[in-house]
Subunit: 420 residues, 2 copies
């Protein structure tokens, strides 16, 4: 068994944390921003230092490749993203890039024999925080392999037209054209040139930590659906409209939200997760009765039958009376459960066991670029613990030792794939 | 009894509806906007046509005055506002200005004897839609007479610094300096120069219409309180955080909102009104559990004891457990019930009866400039019906006949005050 180096990992974690440092423990590093370019420069510097060849594709995805011993073999790629959400942490995404770099640095430093070329990769704009949607570049690169209802969201021309949520003017295409990392389409991740993809990532939940485990052997990305639920009432003056005359869309929504919790919890499935994260109120003035509420509901579970049962509950809202308001539910987004490649999952599990880590099978509740790549080629993921389950926020934390163990599992799983 | 003229009223209603016409039945006419200036120009044109003297004060409040027969007497003023909310209707505010103009036009046209000078007045920025707060100018002009907890909100220098909600740059002071209607402080409404103030307004609720009445004899502006209720949870990923670990601030808020309705309704007082019109969710992303919800609650009733009981319910939220979130309630704004001058209320009632209108006593759930003026001098209000109770929206409607009846009641109440 080979192992990665704590010191070298720490060095990379600490250095990348400077690019976009928000000054209080976390970063804001939007894709293709100056801060993201600093991170990419550092990636290039370290990868060129070990003799890797750098390539960029037309979506500015970056590839650092060291050759293998056997000519003509396809590459094995370790990929994640270097961009963050607003006021995000130092681990989500970048740790997978760091782990890929660490694997290459370990292979070169210890002169580990391998047949296939090995590639560390940065996906552009996974978060979609500045230019929506999330997982933009993997959506574009894997476009031809995605189910039609997903791929339609990722037409390249539409992605280029995606407008900055900050200045409402600059498009992703503008940012791409201005980036020194925009390259050629022929350099894209493809079935012809790549054998398999791995992505190491923080868990972003508390399951590993609660179980006292160090490694999550990821088996799937959970199926999910996201609906918009809207209530239409009547806007009237807060001081002059008797209660019995009101059509208060916010009161309707509050009752419906409580009803959803009650009914979904009756299904008795504690592993099911559902979330209302977004609510829009119109006109949202403290002296006016709201005439429209629009909220999201995001539901995730591996089993499609259970998801269907929850959807029935959501759809039943339309048939009920909510404070004299009309209710409409509308599908925003859904996906089936995406299962990772069994062979690769096996290599990860064997590596985790052989390295003596405490590990478990786990599924991913969050979406990742690996999920789109898995439609194109054998793909899998490795999770390391997230302290207190936090992610997409500054307290995001994983110890250096845990990060290095994750990288070591990645290294050995890649080497097992290499020997196949 | 004297009566006002339907045709002349209709002419003014139709003409003012053009200034800021949004093209689908209503207007957007922010205070001191080009549209508001057009309305003021028309006010000047019509008032000068009947020989009125035009004055403006330092807040751009406008006064059109015709002299009385007895030297040295103070003026009687009929005032309301010409500005609207975004996509408001053609009656809120402007109808009170029109009624004041109509009274002067009737007095002049019919040569009605009167001892006091009579003034039609436009208050600047009652809505506070572009430059908060609402009732800005009456707050500044009546500053010295207001209770301290209210007046502190209306320091003139702070009002001048109020920033446009649209461009986030222009201040109310900038708009005032650019306005041809900015005049001198000595022209302000004052106890020395003015005897009494009347304000005619649409009801903005359905009470008159439901009772089949044409005139509301307003006795008071309801006491109220406005609190902010905040829930603090923990932001985590929607896909990776088990339900039992969550501190979901939005679920907490939904439960609390339902609880408030349940408990307040138990008081069994159907004339009590309470409203949550504004809700803010952070970070408001569909894949993230909300960590902060901030919502308003606006409660109005004449009786301070009943308001105190409701406040107890609101404050009890802090002592309860809401989805593992912390709850804080904070006073934003409150006022006691403001009773109008008994003598003036009597004149309005007598006039409404003598004119043979179907009328009733009513209170005002909404705030008006008259409420601030009443701290300074004898003041009262007259309501006309609002179709379906709508206001602050384009369907706002009152028939010309109802408007004219309101103006006739105003005229006669003013003449009774004049004779006193």
């Amino acid at each position: 068994m080979f192992t990665c180096d704590n010191k070298r990992m720490e060095d990379k974690i600490t250095t990348f944390a400077k690019f976009g440092d928000a000054g209080h423990g976390g970063i804001t590093r939007y894709s293709l921003s100056p801060e993201a370019h600093q991170a990419r420069d550092y990636f290039v510097k370290r990868m060129e230092a070990i003799g890797a060849t750098i390539e960029c594709d037309d979506m500015a995805n970056m590839y650092a490749t060291i050759p293998g011993s056997e000519p003509g073999l396809k590459r094995i790629v370790m990929a994640s993203h270097a961009d963050s959400v607003k006021n995000g942490g130092n681990y989500d995404g970048i740790l997978g890039v760091i782990a890929g770099m660490e694997v290459l640095e370990t292979v070169v430093a210890e002169n580990i024999p391998h047949r296939h070329p090995l590639t560390a990769m940065i996906w552009t704009n996974e978060e979609g925080s500045l230019y929506p949607p999330a997982m933009m570049s993997s959506g574009v690169v894997c476009y031809d392999y995605l189910p039609a209802d997903i791929s339609k969201k990722f037409k390249k021309e539409n992605m280029l037209a995606s407008v900055s949520v900050l200045d409402k003017t600059t498009t992703f295409g503008d940012a791409l054209n201005a980036s020194p990392f925009k390259g050629e389409e022929k350099n894209r991740l493809s079935k012809d040139k790549y054998e398999a993809m791995f992505e190491l990532h923080i868990e972003q939940g508390p399951i590993l930590e609660d179980a006292g485990n160090e490694i999550g052997v990821v088996t799937c990305v959970l199926g999910m659906f996201n609906y918009r639920i809207r209530f239409y009432g009547q806007s009237d003056h807060a001081g002059t409209t008797p209660m019995h005359k009101r059509q208060d869309a916010l009161f309707a929504a509050a009752q419906a939200l409580c009803y959803l919790h009650e009914e979904i919890d009756k299904l008795g499935r504690p592993e099911l997760v559902y979330t209302t994260g977004e609510i829009v109120c119109h006109p949202n003035v403290h002296t006016v009765i709201p005439d429209m509420i629009d909220f999201s509901i995001d539901v995730r579970h591996e089993d499609p039958e259970l998801r269907a049962k929850v959807l029935e509950i959501v759809k039943s809202l339309e048939q009920k009376e909510w404070a004299r308001c009309k209710c409409e539910v509308e599908l925003a987004w859904q996906r089936d459960t995406v299962y990772f490649d069994k062979e690769l999952v096996g290599y990860v599990k064997e590596s985790a066991d052989e390295l003596g880590t405490k590990n478990q099978l786990i599924n991913s509740g969050a979406g990742h670029d690996a999920q789109f790549a898995s439609y194109m080629m054998p793909t899998t993921m490795i999770f390391v613990p997230s302290k207190d389950g936090h992610s997409h926020c500054e307290p995001e934390f994983t110890t250096v030792e845990e990060c290095t163990k994750g990288a070591s599992v990645l290294l050995n799983a890649v080497l097992k794939t290499d020997k196949k």
